[in-house]
């Protein structure tokens, strides 16, 4: 194939053509499509392996059990999109959990107020994380690791290490509530996902998040107050982690300081599998939710296939590694497509730019050169 036809084929509309032209929406679709394929194939295999899989109860359970991770992953996505990371989410979940039950039980506060306080605590922790990262300039990994320890410890101190139960009836009601036959928590999670997607794709704040994560220097030089954007992302993550705390309280029907140990790693895996770049600036909430679903599917498979509990962690670990490897592979293919496009694009451009350069735009070096004299005197090496 000569280069001219190559150029033409790369500009031809159609799916592959669009990958090559570097169309961003298409690239993201490829990401989601890949995940969808994995999920669909996984589901079919699982359905063949056990008839229980395609029952309504199991499917509902699959979604339902993914909701907490999904909510926290939505917040975590903001942080990872600005090229940060929040390891404190599991601990914040536990702290919010003991607070929202403990405050009514121990201090006699109204339930709604204790929920607000629990969410406020999540926001404050996010704010402190954000300040540590932007103002004190502690690396995000360390700042949030320290916060993870402090928050978890506070949860233990407050609860005395015991589960706080029984929970106020509101929690039980939320847990059982259904709208159109679908559990409320699932709808809530989807709504939160839609909201986050809207914020990221259609608001100046969302744009600023992508810009800050994509290139913080360039964003700052374009008048974006990048520190504020980063700060806000950590606050969002803190709040979603606290929401996760309320949700887990409802599920366990107890305020538990031990809840959500290791949740941060599941959440981060889901976000990354969902196509958010750990370097920031790239990824969509839709992908993140699919990532959460994939991890949920793995957990579901482990339960349905009676994998011995001790193999649990190993199997999930292997699946995460495999998914991440697949993702890297896919990315490489897309990048290669982009590179090809950029080379071809340049060729194409110079080809179409056939108009002659205007003669007066570039000084004519050869003609009007009064330096001829001295130059000629030098012995040009031969």
């Amino acid at each position: 194939m000569n280069s001219a036809t190559q150029v033409r084929s790369s500009l031809r509309p159609g799916f592959l053509g669009k990958i090559r032209t570097g169309n961003k929406a298409v690239l993201e679709a490829v990401q989601s499509l890949g995940l969808c394929t994995v999920i669909v194939i996984g589901s079919i295999l699982l359905g063949l392996a056990t008839p229980v899989f395609f029952t309504r109860i199991n499917i509902e359970n699959l979604f339902y059990s993914s909701t907490i991770i999904a909510v926290i992953a939505i917040g975590q996505s903001f942080v990872i999109l600005v090229a940060g990371i929040d390891l404190s989410v599991g601990a914040v979940l536990a702290l919010a959990s003991v607070l929202c039950v403990g405050l009514p039980v121990f201090q006699g506060l109204p339930v709604w107020l204790s929920m607000v306080i629990a969410l406020g605590t999540g926001a404050c922790i996010g704010l402190i994380n954000g300040l540590n990262v932007t103002v004190v300039r502690i690396p995000a990994l360390i700042a949030t690791l320290a916060m993870m320890s402090v928050a978890r410890g506070t949860a233990f101190l407050y609860s005395g290490g015991r589960n706080i139960a029984p929970v106020p009836s509101v929690f039980v009601n939320i847990q059982a509530a259904r709208v159109f036959g679908i559990p409320l928590v699932i709808l809530f999670t989807l709504a939160l996902g839609v909201l986050a997607n809207f914020v990221l794709s259609s608001t100046p704040f969302g744009r600023s998040v992508y810009a800050t994560g994509g290139n913080a220097v360039a964003a700052r030089l374009s008048g974006i107050r990048t520190n504020r954007v980063i700060l806000a992302s950590y606050v969002i993550s803190g709040v979603t982690a606290a929401i996760g705390g309320l949700m887990i309280t409802a599920r366990l029907e107890a305020g538990a300081a031990t809840a959500g140990v290791g949740a941060e790693l599941t959440v981060i895996s889901a976000v990354v599998i969902g196509g958010v770049s750990l370097f920031g600036g790239e990824g969509k909430i839709g992908g993140v939710l699919l990532g959460v679903l994939l991890l949920g599917l793995v957990q579901n498979a482990i339960n349905l296939l009676n994998v011995p509990p001790n193999y649990d962690y190993v199997v999930s670990g292997l699946v995460i590694a495999a998914a991440a490897a697949l993702d890297v592979y896919r990315r490489r293919i897309v990048e290669a497509g982009l590179r090809r496009r950029s080379i071809l694009g340049r060729k194409d451009e110079t080809a179409t730019k056939g108009k002659p350069a205007e003669p007066d735009q570039k000084p004519d070096t050869a003609k009007a050169n009064d330096m001829k004299g001295p130059e000629a005197a030098y012995d040009r090496p031969k």
């Binding site: 032209t21 570097g22 100046p204 220097v217 964003a219 008048g223 350069a357 050169n369 330096m371």
Partner: protein, 511 residues
Amino acid sequence: MTEKSQALWKADRQSATAAAAEHVLVARGICKSFPGVAALDYVDFEVRSGEVNALVGENGAGKSTLIKIMAGFYAPDRGEIRVNGKHLRADPTAAHKAGVATIHQDHNLVPSMTVAENIMLGHWPSRFGIISKKDQTKRALDALGRVAPELAPGTLARRLSPAEGQLVEIARALSEDSRALIMDEPTASLSSPEIDRLFALVNELKSKGLGIVFVSHWIEEVFRIADRITVLRDGKLVGSAPSAELDQERVIKMMVGRAVHEITSSAREPDKVVLEVRNLSRYGVVEDISLEVRKGEVVTLAGLVGAGRSEVASCIFGIDSYDAGEVLVNGKHVAPNDPTAAMQAGIGFIPEDRRRQALIAQLSVSTNATIAVLDRVAPRWVISAEREREIVSDATRSLAIKMSSPRARVSTLSGGNQQKVVLARWLARKPSVLILDEPTKGVDVGAKAEISEIILRLASQGTAILLISSELPEVLALSDRVLVMRSGRIAGELDRRSMSPESIMNYAATV
């Protein structure tokens, strides 16, 4: 120096004198082009044993490319490099083995390692995978003996002065078989006594028969050290002659000597001052900078790389803080160290390093073009796709940006079109002052002319332009006034009548 190495030096010298040509390093007919620009165009260069050949030229003349080819970092598109008469393939390790030692411009020492470890970096002497400290120290001492016997091998590199660091780099680069030493701007960070020390070493190495390639902007320095001066301009060889036959003025003419075409824009009536900078200082970087730019005026900061031009721009736009002074736009004080405030005050800034400071590679052309006008594409907090399309299509038309689609990643565009996207970002804001730092760097000739035109058009529409440029033809064609910077200060001001390549270089390159 050990006896063995001394003997080798001697043997080297004898064989060098014995060789008929005496040329230790020869580049013949070198061509190298990077996308869009011809970096080198049939350049010949050679250095003889026991000679310092200074390679001079303006920024972008192709000096760095040439030495990178000679050091084996780039493969030339055409032509060949010979070391001691033998063909050299493009491989830094092979070049080093063949006897070409290179000192790069930026310091390349690992600060947390000792002098000895730095010298042996990458070739630590080891037995069964274990580094032998004793052997390392011994070999480092050998190497140091050739250039700086006074340095202790156990010193941490971060404790060294810039000059000492440079000596360590020279010790690392030189091996017993070194025939040629390439030094890229070796004096850039040195004080004057340190330069004396370096020059003494260069003379010593020269007398031992090495051929030395010395790259510098500083004409006076070149005349102090060079036996021969070779001038490059726009990737072409202008000439090469023994330095005794040249003088400063002639070298400057050779460096900049191109005809300056007729300046078309007529002198304007003095308009009101838009940007005013009063006594701005950032200690140790720029000092006592005062300047004003009027409505519709193009003022250029000229000078050599490192003279502090970009730093002045960084202070004005609030990227860096400053210790003294004040910036005013339209008579109003601009808060320091806050790019957002500077932007709101009406300043636009196009930074030098497009990839690192301006573009967000993962995002689309249209997002990149509207990132500085988020408040305008999103009245009431939600981005209006329609407004975004309007802004982007306006810009695409008026700047003639070529792309496959506004949704394509910005990284798929060519350099010139990427720069136009950055321009579009600021033009959408309609700034009253636009600062452009090397706006035509790395763009091809056609795009260069277009960008120059855009700058003149903006000025005629009343934008006050502060331009930073290292390309003299561009400076002369666009500027109403030129401020020449040297070592962090404004060394001189030139107006339309007094500006010429020579007058600019005189302020910029002489002390």
